[in-house]
């Protein structure tokens, strides 16, 4: 093509070239598209696989989570909770790996033969064991999920976890001053406030009508049953969340005992109650859950109905049927 092409031909050629490049481009695009598609399919397959695995995982995880949640719930909702609690008096181990969850607003009874550690466990809940020289604790004791033996203020702990002792121990002062001692300790000074707390606590302990004219009398002049209810009123006046009772009726006559049992049932609407008792009928009558202790271990802890009808351990059954203890 040494001579210039006529203009028409030239135009055609240009168009052809253009067309060709267009086709080429199209092919390229198609090629790219193909590769892409393959890749995408692959991806989709992979994605599917991933998704499948994910699902399995998820299912498994959900199952796990439910269990964990369940366990967590018992712990979180438990008012008091011990985990692998060991307690030593010097070299003597009084509690062995105690695991126990005490639900709120219920009555839990501790039963078991003498010397098996009921009082000891009770006293770990308000750290009265601190008074015993050489008493040492391993494991966890939790109140509302907080370590009782952590950096909790002991006096505040004891305000939250009240205690009624086996032997009624009113202070040698007036009925009024006995009950006002707790609130005064925790900074309530106004006469009006104290009056109100004293009356409310006495009413809660079903004692107000009996004693309303004797508030200024010495508490040591009351009967044993009245003294014990006064001690309950005194504990309530401090504003506790938990009430620990160590054989509160063992020194009382049947009428006073019945009185205090009624009281405990009523109080469980507002307080978490833990009661130690040697009286099987008492445990059966008033408690929601029962823990059976033997030689520093909790053999089992379950609903009172179950413990007294079909206990899981033969030793529990033996004890309840009175075969030892």
């Amino acid at each position: 093509m040494s001579e210039p092409a006529p203009p028409v031909l030239e135009k055609q050629r240009v168009r052809q070239v253009n067309l060709m490049s267009f086709v080429e481009q199209a092919v390229q695009v198609a090629e790219i598209a193909e590769t892409l598609q393959v890749a995408e399919t692959l991806q989709a397959v992979e994605a599917l696989q991933v998704a499948e695995t994910a699902e399995t995982v998820q299912v498994a995880e959900i199952a796990d989570a439910t269990e964990i949640a369940k366990a967590a719930e018992t712990v979180v909702s438990a008012k008091l909770h011990t985990e692998n609690l060991d307690l030593f008096y010097g070299n003597f181990q009084a509690l062995h790996k105690v695991n126990l969850a005490i639900p709120p607003l219920s009555i839990t009874a501790f039963i078991g033969p003498s010397g098996c550690g009921k009082t000891t466990l009770l006293k770990t809940f308000n750290r009265m064991n601190d008074l015993v020289e050489g008493c040492r604790i391993e494991g966890d004791v939790l109140l509302d999920g907080d370590e009782i033996y952590g950096n909790m203020d002991v006096n505040h702990l004891r305000k939250r976890v009240g205690m009624v002792f086996q032997k009624p121990n009113p202070f040698p002062m007036s009925v009024y001053d006995n009950i006002a001692f707790g609130p005064r300790t925790h900074g309530i000074r106004r006469k009006g406030d104290l009056d109100e707390i004293v009356e409310r606590s006495l009413r809660d302990a079903a004692l107000f009508d009996e004693l309303k004219d004797r508030l200024r009398h010495n508490a040591l002049g009351l009967s044993g049953g009245q003294q014990q209810r006064l001690c309950i009123a005194r504990a309530l006046a401090a504003g506790p969340e938990v009430l620990l009772m160590d054989e509160p009726t063992s020194a009382l006559d049947p009428a006073s005992t019945a009185h205090i049992e009624e009281l405990a049932i009523k109080l469980a609407e507002r307080y978490t109650i833990v009661i130690v008792t040697h009286n099987m009928q008492q445990a059966a009558r008033i408690s929601d859950r029962t823990a059976f202790f033997l030689l520093g271990e909790i053999v089992e802890c379950d609903t009172t109905a179950k413990i007294f009808s079909k206990p899981g351990d033969s030793r529990t059954e033996d004890y309840i049927r009175g075969r030892f203890g």
Binding site: M128, N155, F165, F171, F181, R234, A238
Partner: protein, 287 residues
């Protein structure tokens, strides 16, 4: 045979104990009788109220009124209580409820030793330590009510500490635990529950301390100044009933001697009243 030997032994033991007890009672009665027989005539002649209420004591003119010395005794005793009771009570509380076993082992014998020191040694201590100290600090002569009160305050410490501590130790631990379980601190348990519960014992210790302080002679004579006059200030000297007796008995005769014995009689009556209070309180504490 064996039984009758035992019975005989019992019988002998009984006789021995009974004799000893009788002798004690007889001794007390003899002392009282002696004081009454020798002191009563003066007391009656002067008139008991004049004798106790009159402030003039002038053996030279046979004028015998011991009021200033009664007041002197009371001042010095009160001063001893003001110093000794808080110190003793706090020590007793510390020993009973705060001290660690080791501290207690050191402190307890020290307190007991305090009780065993002869009163003349206390007097001497007052003379060479307390009086010069007062003299320097307050620019006064030094012998007087304050010096005697300090010495007596130290002397009644063992009584107050021992009796108060026994009362504090006897407070049932159930009170303490009950208070602690309500969220009270150790300090609050001690001061709001244990000390009030031991109050009658604490008051008893104070009464015994009063008896000891009012009857103390030797240590007081050495530091109190012994001027016969109504008290004019805590730095000034007075004379106590006991000091009066011991200072003048050596040379007194006749009426003078009888007046001194009558002074002892008044002192004895004070002590009897104090002991009566003490036993009443003990009875009340036992319920």
């Amino acid at each position: 045979m064996q039984k009758s030997a035992g019975a005989l032994r019992e019988r002998l033991a009984f006789i021995a104990f009974a004799t000893a007890a009788t002798l004690c009672v007889v001794a007390v009665l003899l002392i009282c009788a002696f004081l009454l027989i020798n002191g009563l005539p003066t007391l009656l002649r002067e008139g008991p109220f004049a004798f106790i209420g009159n402030t003039t004591w002038q053996p030279a003119t046979d004028t015998y009124g011991i009021f200033s010395m009664v007041v002197g005794s009371l001042y010095v005793t009160a001063g001893a209580l003001v110093l000794g009771v808080p110190l003793g009570l706090l020590t007793a509380i510390y020993l009973s409820r705060f001290a660690k076993a080791r501290t207690k082992r050191l402190l307890q014998p020290a307190v007991e030793l305090l009780a065993g020191i002869p009163s003349v040694v206390y007097g001497f201590f007052g003379l060479v330590v307390i009086v010069p100290l007062i003299r320097q600090l307050f620019k006064v002569q030094g012998m007087g009510i304050l010096a005697a009160s300090i010495v007596l305050g130290i002397m009644i410490l063992p009584t107050i500490i021992a009796v108060s501590k026994a009362a504090l130790d006897a407070v049932p631990s159930s009170y303490y635990e009950g208070a602690l379980a309500l969220g009270a601190s150790h300090e609050r348990c001690v001061f709001s529950i244990i000390v009030p519960a031991a109050l009658s014992g604490v008051v008893a210790s104070v009464i015994l301390g009063v008896g000891r302080a009012i009857g103390e002679t030797m240590a007081v004579v050495m530091v109190v100044g012994n001027q016969v006059r109504m008290p004019v200030g805590i730095f000034e000297g007075v004379r106590t009933m006991t000091a009066n007796i011991v200072l003048e008995m050596g040379y007194a005769a006749d009426l003078h001697r009888q007046a001194l014995i009558a002074t002892a009689l008044v002192l004895l009556i004070f002590i009897l009243v104090i002991n009566l209070l003490f036993s009443l309180l003990r009875k009340k504490a036992r319920g």
